[in-house]
């Protein structure tokens, strides 16, 4: 009779390892089928690419929001710098010859500049505010990904409960399934959604609204 060595136990040869993994996989597959979990897990696994799309959507939306804010800030700073330089120059013009400053229209031009830049600043601020809508949109998507993770966890826990020895107590977890879709993260993949406000308006118009 051959004696098994420590190296046999701790480091099985590659074919042995593959054989054992294959056996375990087969047992798991059979157990899942017998317990009726195969379909549930298959369905959940089917949602994983969707979760991947949702996480990509979050990355895209937060990136776009950051870009939008930075662009607006950069534009506003250029205009602000121009205003500060012009104000300094105008002060010098006024001190040198106040009458000429008015007569040449320099003061009026400066005031016109101030007015235009103030209006532009207001537009920048509005756009920066609008860029914060990513919080709402990504929040909804994150909630759905979290719900998916909870579903997977619940199914795995249920599997553990079914297969655990009788004396082991495993806590149960209830998964929440949202029934509303939330933001459309991949509009190309679905035909029953609108992708912009004009499509909403067209749909409502077709209904007589």
């Amino acid at each position: 009779m051959e004696m098994s060595t420590a190296s046999d136990t701790l480091a099985p040869t590659e074919p042995d390892l593959h054989q054992k993994i294959g056996l375990l996989t087969r047992q798991l597959h059979d157990s899942l089928n017998e317990l009726g979990y195969a379909d549930q897990l298959r369905s959940t696994v089917g949602e994983l690419p969707d979760a991947q799309s949702r996480l990509s959507y979050i990355a895209r939306l937060t990136g776009e929001a950051a870009e939008k804010v930075l662009t607006r800030v950069e534009q506003a700073k250029v205009q602000h710098d121009h205003l500060a330089t012009e104000a300094k120059r105008m002060r010098e013009v006024l001190v040198r010859d106040p009458v000429a400053a008015v007569a040449t229209g320099a003061i009026m031009n400066f005031l016109e500049d101030v007015s235009q830049i103030a209006q532009a600043a207001d537009e920048h601020l509005t756009e920066i505010m609008m860029a914060q809508d990513f919080h709402d949109l990504t929040g909804q998507v994150i909630a759905r990904v979290v719900a998916l993770a909870a579903t997977i966890e619940a199914q795995l826990v249920q599997l553990v409960i079914q297969t655990a020895p009788p004396h082991v107590v495993v806590p149960t977890v209830e998964a929440k399934t949202p029934h509303l879709s939330g933001p459309v993260v991949n509009p190309e993949a679905t035909s029953d959604v609108v992708t912009d406000q004009s499509q909403v308006d067209d749909l409502l118009a077709s209904l007589g609204f």
């Binding site: 509005t126 505010m129 609008m130 914060q132 809508d133 919080h135 709402d136 949109l137 929040g139 909804q140 949202p178 509303l180 879709s181 939330g182 933001p183 459309v184 509009p187 029953d192 959604v193 609108v194 992708t195 912009d196 406000q197 909403v200 749909l203 409502l204 209904l207 609204f209």
Partner: protein, 128 residues
């Protein structure tokens, strides 16, 4: 006078409530209150006077569709125009909102011009 109208903005995200509130203010509608879901909105609507409701759909406790249903089923509230502002972009949701009595539907993300246009149109149609 339009800018004397009182708005109730309903959304579970405070950032979105602030955005809508600020946009309405920029459009001249300075009187607005906020609620974080349909339950809180109904409580405010039944205890105070409002002229216009702007609501999200996907909210905890009571969603926008349920709120719309409650408003339209309430004799004292059913006259209120309800504008849905939501990320729900499925056609069946838009149709359901219209059939449920919503005065308008805006999909997020939206622009200041879109909100202003819809609010103005609804006010005009409702004769407010």
């Amino acid at each position: 006078m339009a800018n004397a109208l009182r708005f109730l903005i309903v959304d579970d995200f405070s950032t979105m409530r602030r955005i809508v509130r600020n946009l309405l203010k920029e459009s001249g509608f300075t009187d607005a209150d906020e609620a974080e879901d349909g339950v809180a909105a109904l409580h405010k609507l039944r205890n105070s006077k409002f002229d216009f409701v702007v609501t999200d759909i996907n909210m905890p406790n009571m969603n926008g569709f349920q709120l719309l249903g409650e408003i339209k089923a309430d004799e004292k509230l059913k006259h209120l125009p309800v504008l849905m502002v939501t990320a729900e972009a499925r056609k069946e949701d838009i149709v359901a909102a219209a059939q449920g009595g919503a005065a308008g539907y805006i999909v997020k993300p939206f622009t200041k011009a879109t909100l202003e246009e819809k609010v103005t149109l609804i006010i005009k149609k409702a004769g407010l």
